[in-house]
């Protein structure tokens, strides 16, 4: 073993350690930022060493420079410019890029292997299986992530898109992938067949994510993130590169757990998320139920008085707050109420917004102190003693149907008990159904009053209402 190889192993080891520590540190608020920087440092080290140590790299330096320049500019601009509300889809796009890169690396390795065997003999079985896995999983992750991005960005129909025979089509695609994979591994190393294999993987990614409703996209992104990790691990196996192998496996495993945690928070199984076509059937049902719910409206002044003279107000933020960028005015409202001696708390549902932790990030951005942000289990019993529950653009996570209507598609999902409060004030743009496409009986509750309008405008009028109250 040469000196260079020894250093290579040392670099892989250091990188692997930083990646593990990065994940560990990211799991606690105090160390999270350090963790991320540590991961980036490990990454920089392994990239730099790969550049210096690989023979042939200097000859092709321009590929690296051009690719890295384009990638760095696109990545930085995307990450810097994106508004906080669009974070989830940005993560989806970055994930898709990684999956695509893994698929391309697998394809290129296959071509290299074929070029090295002019006689047409088969590629060695185990690395070939890993190559096929890298190509198929990377390909699925690429197009699946693009569809997830499109749904969250509103470029394509966010509802669960279903069509007759969809399950059969998905089964046929997967079957075709298995058959072609076996043929490539055992019978022929035909390049066109490999290209067909990748093409089917790309179609499969679209076919798997299209039938899933927009509300479930965070789970899908987390799952695709895990997939990309597995694809990267597979290419690491092929290349005999332990940095890729370890990093990919770490992300594959931790992504799978994270996906599981998210599903548990919604009381759904991963199978139900992927194949349940959540929100598609329901959209029809809700319309048939003839959705004119009787809802009581309230003026901003009355709502402000109700809160200013209450003892305890619990604010329930949701995606509506994020879209309207209302977190600043919400903080102002909190300050005013606290100054008047009102006990103000925030109730954060685990899946409020479109990503777990989404609300925490936004409210932290607006300088709302952590200790006022309560997780669901912590605060659910407090609603009964609250004078006002102020729901800002949250819908499905407050829907009592999840608790008492066994026929509701979200039945069994843990919800915030806003209906236990003395008064419920709901800020909402219109009577439209939530992201999951389900009617909310909360709005018909006599305790509930609606304040229609853009969340930022509504909160601003509440603020001036409280000032003059």
């Amino acid at each position: 073993m040469s000196g260079t190889e020894i250093v290579t192993f040392a670099v892989w080891l250091i990188a692997a350690a930083t990646f593990i520590l990065a994940l560990k540190f990211l799991a606690s608020p105090k160390t999270a930022r350090t963790g991320n920087l540590l991961g980036a440092a490990g990454m920089a080290l392994v990239i730099a060493w790969t550049f210096v140590s690989s023979s042939g790299m200097l000859e092709h330096w321009w590929i690296l420079v051009v690719g890295a320049l384009i990638g760095a500019v696109v990545g930085t601009l995307g990450a810097r410019r994106v508004p906080m509300t669009a974070m989830p889809q940005m993560v989806a796009i970055f994930n898709g890029a990684g999956g695509g890169a893994a698929a391309v690396v697998a394809l290129s390795e296959f071509l290299l292997g074929v070029n090295q065997r002019p006689g047409g003999e088969l590629l060695p079985l185990v690395p070939m299986i890993a190559t096929l896995l890298g190509a198929v999983i990377g390909g699925v992750s690429l197009t699946g992530s693009i569809v997830a991005f499109g749904k969250l960005q509103g470029l394509i129909n966010a509802r669960a898109v279903t069509y007759p025979g969809q399950q059969i089509v998905a089964a046929l695609l997967l079957g075709a992938l298995v058959v072609i994979g076996i043929v490539l591994a055992t019978l022929t190393n035909s390049v066109p067949l490999f290209v067909l294999f990748v093409a089917i993987a790309l179609v499969t990614g679209v076919a798997l994510v299209m039938p899933i409703g927009g509300a479930d996209m965070p789970v899908v992104i987390s799952l695709l993130n895990s997939y990309t990790g597995i694809a990267v691990a597979a290419t690491g196996f092929v290349l005999g590169n332990y940095a890729l192998l370890i990093a990919g496996t770490l992300v594959g495993a931790s992504g799978a757990i994270l996906t599981q945690l998210m599903c548990t928070a919604m009381n759904r199984s991963i199978f139900n998320v992927l194949f349940g076509a959540f929100g598609a059937v329901v959209a029809g049902g809700a319309a048939a139920a003839g959705g004119e719910q009787a809802a009581r409206e309230i003026t901003a002044e009355d709502a402000a008085v109700l809160m200013a003279y209450g003892k305890k107000v619990i604010i329930v933020p949701g995606y509506g707050m994020a879209v309207a960028q209302a977190q600043g005015p919400v903080r102002e409202l909190m300050d005013l109420l606290v100054a008047k001696g009102v006990d103000v708390q925030f109730a954060i549902h685990p899946v409020a917004g479109r990503m777990p932790g989404h609300m925490n990030v936004l409210l932290a951005e607006a300088n709302v102190p952590y200790d006022r942000l309560k997780e669901m289990d912590e605060i659910n019993d407090d609603f009964a003693s609250a004078d006002v529950a102020l729901v800002i653009g949250a819908n499905d996570v407050t829907n009592p149907a999840a608790r008492n209507d066994a026929g509701s598609p979200i039945y069994g999902m843990p919800i915030l008990n806003v209906d236990h409060a003395q008064n419920v004030i709901v800020l909402k743009r219109s009577m439209g159904a939530g992201f999951a496409g389900i009617d909310n009986p909360l709005y018909a509750d006599p305790k509930t009053a609606m304040l229609f309008g853009d969340a930022k405008t509504s909160v601003a009028s509440l603020v001036s209402g409280v000032k003059s109250a």
Binding site: A40, S54, H60, N225, L258, E375
Partner: protein, 103 residues
Amino acid sequence: MTEALDPRALLDALFILVLAAFVGYEVVSKVPTMLHTPLMSGANAIHGVIVVGAMLIAATAGDFLRIILALVAITLGTINVVGGFVVTDRMLEMFKRRPGDRS
């Protein structure tokens, strides 16, 4: 696909794979909900290490097709790694200003 032929090397890789899977599982199994998004995003950046794989195929790229593939892979991989770390840092930046909170 030249180096990984040795059965011993394949077994070593398998060992690493299994152990890394257990570590990945353990390390994130207790995470507060509020950190799910940054954690997912950070993990997303870490699989951006695929850019190293892209560099390795660039190093062996002889013909035009494989040069183009390497260029595509490096571009995509760099987007993943740079964008991933920057966006995660941006999310976490919002948590940093508050000392003395519950952890």
